[in-house]
């Protein structure tokens, strides 16, 4: 598998989904997974699969003594593998910028030179594909498509593409032609395409002109809460109900609709507060908007939350709102429901295809959203129903099942 992010160092939903799916698939007894990421930190969970870091894969032959390899790499992998990979360098890359181990440095994030980084990633993939044995190649999102294609051409094994998001979702319908090109190339030359929702499947078929038979939907699931997360108590000290938006504050997530709905609710009532958690390119704009509306004393920003803070925020919320304009799947409402928080989601989110005990509105229908927020905060019966039923529902959405569906696709390809 080729991925870009892996917990605990995640920047978006891609890492969480890759992790969950791998974990779900690892429960199949005859499954062995090799997961390639650009930059491992050494604290990733490797109990059910093996992580290979591109930043530890040599592409230029260097005479590295064993002690040095051991000292530098033991945190990430068996140093012996470094030498195996070094034996599989397939071309002269000495013109490239490499370190004393002959490896390229990766940021593992989304830097400005992301195209260069994806290209480097596919160079590294060539070495990895020559070193290891595998039956299927599985690429998560466009950043890893070139790497997957490279591995396919080296090994001749079937390649599956996993579409967590398309450029159409990210850009609001105005795709970057280079990114679109990479996505289209990957889809055209792979053997099967997995989409995280029917919504995304439709986009792939319509906008990337893929045949219907080649595209299958496998909905995401959610990992059960760990006991230490389960134990977190509500920590907000306000007496009012708390309505939360949690995610990147960017066009795709529809933050301005949340502010609009909040404005309506705050003008009518006094017992509801709003929180916008997360950061993003539209954050400053949203702060200005809130100030302009004059609701800043009831509308709060937390900035970026990481790890445990996310759950502290959810556990302190009474309503979770995800007004995404275009969301391929959107795992966060599932996480909110795990924390017993009633959720309001937009029809334009992939997860609305599988969730029933939530309130769904159109992302632009601010009135309906305000209405739903008000009723959940005001009528205990409504909140209680969504809490209890939502929890039951979400506890039955398992990665294991998603893993089985993916396995079926593999079986058809082999």
């Amino acid at each position: 598998m080729f991925g870009w992010e892996f917990p605990p160092h995640i920047l978006g939903g891609l890492g969480t989904a890759s992790y969950g799916l791998t974990k779900g698939m690892a429960q199949q007894e005859d499954m062995e997974i090799l997961f390639v990421i650009p930059k491992p930190w050494g604290d990733e969970e490797q109990s059910f699969m093996k992580i290979i870091g591109s930043s530890n894969t040599p592409i230029v032959w260097r005479d590295v003594p064993w002690e040095m390899a051991q000292a530098r790499l033991v945190k990430y992998m068996d140093p012996q593998e470094y030498y195996w990979m070094r034996d599989n360098i397939y071309a002269d890359f000495s013109y490239m910028n490499t370190n004393d181990l002959g490896c390229i440095e990766f940021s593992g994030r989304y830097p400005n030179n992301i195209l260069e980084e994806t290209n480097n990633y596919s160079i590294v993939a060539g070495v990895i594909a020559r070193t290891y044995q595998f039956d299927v190649i599985h690429s998560h999102d466009w950043l890893t498509y070139p790497a997957g294609l490279h591995a396919k051409s080296v090994s001749g094994k079937p390649m599956v593409i996993h579409v967590h998001a398309t450029e159409f979702d990210r850009s609001g319908g105005k795709p970057n032609p280079i990114v679109y090109g990479i996505e289209k190339d990957g889809m055209d030359h792979c053997d099967h395409i997995i989409c995280v929702s029917n919504l995304t499947r439709r986009t792939v078929i319509d906008n990337y002109h893929q045949p219907e038979w080649k595209v299958t939907t496998v909905h995401n699931a959610v990992d059960p809460l760990r006991p230490e997360i389960e134990a977190i108590e509500r920590i907000s000290g306000v007496s009012e109900k708390v309505v939360t938006f949690l995610g990147r504050i960017t066009m795709q997530k529809g933050p301005e609709f949340f502010v609009d709905a909040a404005t309506q609710v705050i003008r009518k009532t006094d017992h509801i507060r709003f929180v916008m958690a997360g950061s993003g390119d539209m954050m400053d704009q949203m702060i200005r908007l809130v100030a302009e509306r004059g609701i800043a004393d009831k509308f709060h920003f937390t900035g970026f939350l990481r790890g445990k803070q996310v759950y502290e925020m959810l556990k302190s919320s009474d309503v979770y709102v995800m007004p995404s304009v275009s969301e391929p799947f959107g795992i966060s409402p599932l996480e909110a429901m795990q924390c017993n928080v009633p959720s309001i989601i937009s029809y334009q989110s992939g997860c609305s295809e599988i969730l029933h005990n939530v309130i769904k509105t159109d992302y632009w229908d601010v009135d309906a959203m305000a209405d739903a927020i008000y009723s959940i905060c005001t009528y205990p019966a409504m909140a209680e129903h969504l809490k209890v039923e939502g929890k039951i529902e979400v506890d039955n959405i398992l990665w294991e099942d998603a893993g089985k569906k993916v396995r079926n696709i593999y079986n058809n390809l082999l």
Partner: protein
Amino acid sequence: MKTICFYFQIHQPFRLKRYRFFNIGRDHYYFDDYANEDILQQIAARSYIPANRMLLDLVNQNKGKFKVAFSISGVALEQLEIYAPEVIDGFRELAKSGNVEFLTETYAHSLASLYDPEEFRNQVKHHAERIEVLFGQKPTVLRNTELIYSDDIAEMAYDMGYTKMITEGAKHVLGWKSPNYVYHAATQPKMKLLLKNSRYSNDINFRFSNYSWNEYPLTAEKFTSWIAATPPEEKVFNLFMNYETLGNLQPSHTGIFEFMKALPRFAFERGIGFTTPGEALDSHEAVGPINVPNTISWADEERDVSAWLGNKLQQSALKSLYEMGERVRLCTDRRLNHDWIYLQSSDHFYYMSTKHLGGGESQFSPYLSPYDAFNNYMNVLSDFLGRVKAQYPDTVDNEELNALLTTIHNQEMEIKRLQLELKTIIGSNEELLVEKTKK
């Protein structure tokens, strides 16, 4: 005789700590004690203490001929008392010399004059009392926060009993006029005004150590020669600046202290004296009115108030703050009243300024961005609002509440009076009883 009128401003806000959404309702302490102590002690060591010592020497050496004035905001006084009491002692000694004047200003260094006249009145009164207690002189000259001034504010100040104010000699207000005269307010002829001479003031506080300035280096001799060369009718040269200019904004290695030490000698040689704002305003008649329909201040090139209320964030925060002013004044909780003062310091709103975004405007700001400053402030304000609401029920409006509180207060007085009466009656009855038993 030409006179130089020095006035130094001392102000430090109570900076807020990082206050998250989760703190709201659970944590009612808002201030970053560590940063406040650290910053104040650094500035005191670099500027306030050596500058006080130097000025005291100058005052003593020149036997009544060298004079300066200070305006110290109430919140700065409080911090000095906690973190650097020796600075207060220094000011006390200066006050004792009789050649140093203390001005009055808003206690919180607040923008109340623009939003809440009653709060403005209270704060000025509070500050004047504090100055009298500390330094033994009743201030007569009013200096509004950041030299903010307009015709309306002049009238307000006059109604409060002040006839002397100082403000900025803003170019767009003065036009062809010179700031080196005494003026009076256009709307209130009895309100006399002293205007800051921006050029000479900035020569010292901004340009003094600027190598690329064509007049660098500035010597006391050169500076006094400029003043001596002005037309003979121009009498008062108002050098208004931040006290931190001495030693902090212009570090001691630039020679700022030596410049100040040399200044009196060269001034006296050229027949230039020193005065304080109060004295200058008393000894000169106003030459004409100054018309200021739009508010001015001493900030930025525009000399207006856009640094504090230039954008939506600042306006919204100030509005939320002053909307509850009336209610807060009905509360008697001491900590609440303190916080109310501290939250009004103009600095909190200055940190939210987006005027020079990316231009390094936030050299004093403890925040990453104006938006960050806004979020933090609003979180604090939300908690504060909650505390105010908890004092009295929300459903009672201010007028009604006021009436109720008065009734309660009166009833208390009435009860006390009746108790007293009862006591005297019981007392006299007892006396009667004693007398009876004697019989």
